[in-house]
Symmetry: C2
Subunit: 451 residues, 2 copies
């Protein structure tokens, strides 16, 4: 067997146990959970330190060998798996968690540390981490920063970019840029951390991140609010944003999605007869800050009915219907998944228009919409049309852009949405991005199929 | 009189009334309030629209004529005035304020709009803007974003970069990049707004900004806390951060600074006998969220004494001593001003070391320190040594960097701190920044003397 000379060179700098070349072992590093994006890695490098990452990139740059940096492989848009026989640089072994710095409420972690591990580390000190979503046990900090991950708490704490107090990354040239002091006021040149956040592995490989932590919340309230329309939900949220500084999450569901979850999974929802729209809100903070919760909800004129929960069990009950929307959809078949943002004022019209559009393009298909109203972020699922047909995607994303929306809210562009990027970004913006990319990765080896 | 051909070309695209060429009129666009940085502009262009900004930059690029974008001229580090006969591009006439979008709590404004105007516009809708500082009536949004301005509310709402929901800017090529949809979740490529924020006019001229607004606060509490040491103040702040999610500001003063203000300006402070350190904290939110304020303060073991104010008059009284530190210092003479960030745990040691350093280098000089403890941001003022002697600056900034601090917290690098930038940024980081700059401004015409 003749060994791939690039794999051999990587084994030379890392040691053989840190380079996987066996095709069947490599294969598992080539798939995402949706199964839609897959590709065979040329080989898999598993560096344990920043210096080893730099060594890997130097080898790849010298040989012009394309590299895909890979975290927990929980992406949904083909951004972290090879498309064309790239080398996979797995950050799995960059897994060191430092002690929490209590003065600044910050923690420095390796790129391969999972979200769940960050959350545990914060909890041990009575703090919390501001980002949370379902893939918490597998997704890793490097990938979360590279894709600027979102989730359910963005309303209060911002996206992953907003959690970054410092970053260390290796550029395609093998140079390491490291700025981990964590100062919030630190005007000493360009904000390289913000540029790397959301760059989807195209500008450098993130190796360590200094993360902001937030005050731990001793008390939590949740409420399911019954509303007659999405317009009423938007109005209610506008009021609660002002009256409840401790508002943490605002999730939106429609009656047809709720009925699907209750029918298919045998879950009982908070309302016997689902109203047209349910807004699920969370608030978290010290006890005395939550006293106004019920009063704030009661002061919203659009709310027809409400169920408030203050115990962990009660809150889990309210959240179950929301959390299991994805699962219920998958019981019907493989969905076309869209992750989009709409201006709050455009959601009502968009919802009507997109249902008509699906009925026209794919008669008989099932459309289920849910999402994070606090950010205007809707997850649109359509079950029925063949998975590989781009007609529906094209029509839906054009509708989104036409209504002033974003074609990628929190999942990123990856390979999946590349054909539609120009719907949201002008020729001048794309040219400006390309210039940065070329300046930092002149050989074009970093995630070349992405963005 | 032969007219400068570049000025003539600018008059050709803008119309003559929008180009100032008279040297005595130009001169006022060449100074900053400190008087330390001044330079004669070659001419001053006053575009009224983004397209006119693009036209100005196209003329300058074609003639390789350097340009300094200028806002309210309230900078302190020579970043907004010409150093070498550059053309001044004033954003003063980009002064349109759009109505507040209530669904998203955002407002889009021209670069030339003052901070005070943004604050008023927010207040009219029961909202507030998250950044505030003394120069509010003159400083403008474009300059605030370009320098990533800070101030007293960063603890709660972040720096200027964190207020930006969308940006429009013209690059040196004359291309306009515009992304003003304001979506919080919007992962469609590189975060160009974050890169422009803090770039000090070197990457593009910001023309419009979509700003996040925050819930208006019906109730405000302030407290002056007497402490025995800076260590006690850091500990107190760590506790309050957790127990008071509505904590807005945390300012630090030392007894010698307080005595200077009370003696020189005849102001009376909150404590008859100033304690070694005073921590001034603000909290703002709905009434029921403030009930815990006094209890949270009482639970801090390091607090020896406290004065709480809940009325506007009482709060103004507590803040006056803090606000007038700068004025009192200037009564003694022209100070050497340093704007630095230290890790909270290093402040106590730094304060001792810097006082010894000043005593050694400038015997008899007066040192006054105050600042924003919430961000570790200290304003260090030294009155005594001759203004143009760089010895003191060199020694102080090296001390800061040696203690893990940032040599520029909120004022920026400008021309003032350029010689010391490498104390905070590695060769690799500086090279990475230079590559971005060259990619976006190949002719090197944007604020060439800065950063």
């Amino acid at each position: 067997v003749t060994e791939d000379p690039t794999a051999a060179a990587l084994a030379g700098v890392l040691g053989r146990p840190q380079v996987i070349t066996d095709p069947s072992l490599c294969a598992s590093y080539g798939t995402e959970p949706t199964g839609r994006w897959r590709g065979q890695p040329r080989c898999v490098a598993l560096p344990r330190t920043t210096d080893e990452v730099a060594a890997v990139l130097r080898v790849c740059a010298a040989r012009r060998a394309p590299v895909v940096a890979q975290g927990g492989r929980t992406g949904l848009v083909g951004g972290g798996v090879p498309g064309n026989g790239e080398i996979v640089l797995s950050t799995a072994r960059l897994s060191r968690i430092e002690p929490v710095n209590l003065d600044t409420a910050q923690v420095t972690v390796g790129a391969g540390v999972t979200l769940a591990a960050v959350q545990s580390q914060a909890q041990r000190e009575g703090l919390l981490f501001g980002v949370d979503f379902g893939a918490r046990d597998a997704c890793t900090v490097g990938g979360m920063v590279a894709t600027n991950a979102g989730g359910t708490r963005v309303l209060r704490w911002g996206t992953m970019r907003d959690q970054v107090a410092g970053i260390e990354a290796v550029l395609s040239t093998g140079e390491t840029i490291s700025h981990l002091t964590g100062h919030i006021k630190d005007n000493t040149g360009y904000h390289l951390a913000g540029l790397l956040a959301g760059s989807e592995g195209t500008l450098g490989v993130i190796t360590r991140v200094r993360l902001k932590l937030r005050p731990g919340n001793p008390h939590h309230y949740s409420a399911a609010l019954a509303l007659g329309s999405i317009g009423g939900a938007v109005d209610t949220l506008t009021r609660l944003r002002t009256s409840l500084p401790t508002l943490d999450a605002a999730e939106i569901m429609w009656s047809d999605g709720i009925r699907l979850v209750t029918d298919v999974l045998g879950v009982s929802g908070p309302f016997r007869d689902p109203p047209p729209v349910v807004l699920l809100v969370d608030s978290a903070g010290p006890a005395e800050h939550l006293d106004g919760f019920a009063a704030a909800v009661a002061a919203c004129p659009s709310v027809r009915d409400s169920v408030v929960a203050t115990t962990a069990q009660g809150r889990a009950y309210l959240w179950e219907v929301r959390d299991r929307h994805g699962e219920a959809v998958h019981r019907l078949g493989t969905p076309h998944k869209f992750d989009v943002t709409l201006p709050p004022g455009a959601i009502e019209d968009f919802e009507r228009a997109v249902r008509l559009l699906v009925d026209r393009l794919a008669p008989g298909a099932t459309t289920v919409i849910f999402g994070h109203l606090g950010d205007g972020n809707l997850h649109l699922n359509v079950v029925g049309p063949p998975p590989d047909d781009p007609t529906l995607a094209d029509a839906v994303l054009r509708l989104v852009a036409g209504r002033g929306g974003s074609i990628s809210a929190e999942h990123g562009i990856g390979r999946a949405k590349l054909p539609w990027l120009e719907l949201n970004r002008s020729v001048a913006e794309l040219a400006a991005m390309r210039r940065v990319r070329r300046a930092w990765d002149p050989a074009g080896i970093l995630n070349p199929a992405v963005l």
